[in-house]
Amino acid sequence: MSDQPAPTAGFATRLADGQWHRLYWASPLLKGGFALVAILGFILANLRERLVDFFITPGPGPGDGPGPGDNGDIVALVYDHGQTGVALLIIAGVLLLSIVAFSVAWRMHTFRISADAVEVRSGILFRHNRQARLDRIQGIHITRPFFARLFGAAKIELSVAGQDAKVDLAYLGSGQVDELRREILRRASGVQQQEAETVAAGAEQGLVNRRLHELLAPELDPSSAPAESVVRIAPLRLVGSLVLSEFTVFLLVVVAALILSATWVHHGLVLVLLLPSLLGSLGFYVRRFTKSVRYSIAATPDGVRVGFGLLTTSNDTLPPGRIHAIEVTQPLLWRPFGWWMIRINRAGHASSHGSAGQHHTLLLPVGRASDVDKVLGLVLPGLTGAETRHLVVGGLSAARGAGFTATPRRAMVLRPFSWRRTGYATTSDAVLLRSGFFWRRLRVVPLARLQSLHVAQGPVRRMLDLAELHFNTIAGPVRASLGVIDRGLALSAFESLSAAAVAAAASDSSHRWAEHPEPPTPAEHAERPSPAEDAGALEHPTPPEPLTIAEHPPIGRIA
């Protein structure tokens, strides 16, 4: 628990040399050691008086006068001492065992980063081995909890697609984590040869100075992203957006209902019962606020970086091509202020709900239209061109037209208000869906990420000569579909977009985003078997590459 690797410059390249490495020396403490220390402290505090008795007992000296209960007192004292001794022994044993367990677990927890995969081994009795391919990484999340920051430690989480599919490295040195992230992304990007930059600054300062420097440093390193690409959220706007949320309306309605029921029906008991949970729900604001304070979105060479947090800071890097759908929405109360919110669908954290998963899919908690423009430009560079700018503007504001298809008036039966806004538009690499009258929505699906699309029609839409158009993406908060669309339009969109999706997927190279392969030649294209001629002609079709990570069952081996 003590052989501390000196955190020096170039540590990341040393970490990523393909050899097995251990985690940061303070990880056992940060992972569970503090709980242990706290429990021990609690026990010791309770036993304090007994302990004082135990060690500094004024023994019954000869000078003491004989008293009535003297004999009984000594027996009680001996009895007492025996008990305290046993308790002390137990505490010492537990302490020793935990220290041994923690340090053995720490020694057994090793990881290595090779050219194309990251592998983690852990466990004492049940060995666990997990390997993830670097080019399958969907996002890199770095968290620096407050306590860990005091120790100069940070947690890095590499997520790949799939349920609970991530590689956690908790904890590593704070300075090394950023380097490691850069190194992993560099390898994942397909750039094989690049000069390994070494940062020597800060290595000479003392320990305390370094910690202080890390604590006070801005959440986003100014040198890592061009300043004009950075989108920030003013604290006042953040507070305003939280106050004007639908949750507030809900809360006010509940409070009003409670007051009414308490005054008219005279059931004060209801009030007493519901008040604590109501107060607890205020935690929602605190959570959202702490998750969004000091928020910044910036473009780095290896993807979009989202950072936030005041005491506990986090940042999330999304490599290019990892966003499957984008939704820009405006809750009704935000309209006077012109605020918007951006949500995304991404693989990796798709099915995690609750507060833990929320900030992974909430890309921009609140922002003006200009911020939306910037962020959309970061995540979809194809949308920044002058010819597509009006589509975004139209998608956010216009009631009808503005480059989007129109929905016939008969759709009013099904969408009494929003039928004017319902429509789609296409760019060279994405499809934009506009809908919503009260809650305005603009959804963007990159065609290279589209999994499939379908047209559906039920009896009602058949009578109205309408149809539904669905764009199927990875599961997430964004559901890209148009509820009403003219039947003929739906069919032509189905035809053109299914072809466009195939073309976009074929030309997409974002899983190795920095690699620039030569475009497929016509000859190469011709040799691909066509479905009509190769029916049953293949003897040994190789199964597709596994989607996520290789995870081995525990091996019953005590190493």
Partner: protein, 173 residues
């Protein structure tokens, strides 16, 4: 709610989209038997529940339930052949088209490269008739492409062919 023919307005539009109607690969005619059996089974279960209510609970509502379940079963049995005929798939150059449904019509296009895995299932009745169900799974749960009622060897051949096609057109997630 009246449905006169196999080709509703949307499927009529499909003729232009996906070639003549004959281009669709249909499922085995024997699949109708599976649909029949499923409808009869559902009808029997609903009737049994109704009878339970009539006999044990003595509710007059049970008679209505019994009548309704019988009518639903008869309607299902009548439309079953057409529903089976409405299921079809087509292998285009770069994607798989799949259609099903009469009243609730749905047509899906899935690029081959999006395949994550293919399931071939056989139910007890399907096995007796030599039929398999093939399911094409993508990373999006809403894709829901499943082709029921394929003859066993056809299902296996189709699976191998789809896997091979996916291999040549593999893309990222």
């Amino acid at each position: 709610m009246s449905e006169s023919s196999d080709s509703g307005p949307l499927s009529a539009g499909l003729a232009g989209l996906a070639g003549p109607d004959d281009d669709w690969q249909r499922v085995s005619p024997k699949y109708v038997a599976v649909e029949f059996a499923a409808s009869v089974l559902a009808g029997l279960i609903m009737s049994a529940i109704s009878v339970f209510f009539i006999v044990v609970a003595g509710w007059w509502l049970g008679w209505w339930m019994l009548g309704a379940s019988l009518i639903v079963t008869i309607v299902l049995l009548v439309v079953a052949p057409r529903r089976a005929r409405a299921i079809g798939y087509r292998l285009r150059d770069d994607d798989l088209l799949m259609r099903r449904g009469i009243m609730f019509f749905r047509i899906v296009a899935v690029p081959y490269g999006r395949m994550q895995l293919i399931d071939v299932n056989r139910g007890p009745l399907g096995r007796a008739l030599g039929l398999s169900d093939l399911k094409f799974v993508t990373a999006a749960a809403t894709t829901a492409v499943s082709i029921p009622g394929l003859p066993e060897e056809e299902a296996d051949a189709l699976r191998d062919q789809l896997v091979a096609l996916a291999e040549t057109r593999r893309t990222g997630l």
